[in-house]
Symmetry: C2
Subunit: 157 residues, 2 copies
């Protein structure tokens, strides 16, 4: 697949989605963040077919998002753990949780609550600017071409 965008440059979203952009992968990661590790547990928890699951886990391992670790010798068996690259997808999952809670929640409210260990509060993490600490929304941000692609001076987008 191409995954190209404006100016013939492959965009970061497209790059990210080439790894996690299908119906099952983000559910697998959701379970991984819940500390699910075993093939059978992923399969039961998600409702994915075993075939698909083997396929997706294999891809995640090839992409360096998860690693396949032997946890037992005799019958040799493996489990799947997030790598650092995988753990770094946490904001994506949490953002999806937040949106799901705000816009798709049923009558019972959010099915799960997230607790921030450091401050002990039930919390819904938000996106902020690391320089000024303000919460950011789409409206506050503008995009421009990166340095390597910018035409000499500045890009008029």
């Amino acid at each position: 697949m191409r995954w190209r965008d404006v100016g013939g440059v492959t965009c970061s979203v497209a790059r990210a989605l080439s790894v996690v952009g299908d119906r099952w992968t983000l559910l697998i990661l959701r379970d991984a963040f819940r500390r699910v590790r075993r093939f059978e547990d992923f399969q039961r928890g998600i409702g994915i077919t075993r075939h698909r699951l083997a396929d997706r886990l294999g891809k995640l391992v090839r992409e360096g998002v998860m690693e396949r670790v032997r946890y037992q010798e005799r019958p040799v068996r493996y489990e799947y753990k997030l790598t650092e690259k995988g753990r770094d997808l946490y904001p994506v999952i949490v953002s999806l949780v937040g949106w799901g809670d705000r816009w798709m929640a049923g009558d019972d409210g959010p099915p799960i609550e997230l607790v921030h260990r450091d401050c002990g509060r039930v919390t819904a993490p938000v996106l902020t600017c690391p320089h000024c600490q303000a919460q950011v929304t789409a409206h506050d941000m503008s995009a421009r071409l990166g340095p390597a692609l910018a035409p000499k001076e500045e890009a008029p987008a």
Copy 2:
């Protein structure tokens, strides 16, 4: 599809993915955040087939993520704009951008830069706890069942 999870409860990630969880939808949204609105522009920018695009836009409209707005009368023509529900997906897209930049960037570095209008800095927004302002990672958070589902006094079945 089922989209159920632990305890027979549909999880928020699954609910969110039932709307945005396919190969194309998040790319459509990426372009929408770039202020793309027209059918032809989405189609060219993403490389999706017209058929698929019509299908996905229709679904996004039905789900209330985008709205179809007449922008011209004579030939009647429509464009697609994010609703508030749609704009609220910004953290998901930005998180994907950030991850793509950190882990999948090519030799040229990030293809685009995000500028925070309020403080004027090039920035990569991070996830923080709204109570204590600290940046959060998977390690800092724990999940538990929400109030409506917590096994308190009245555990409904």
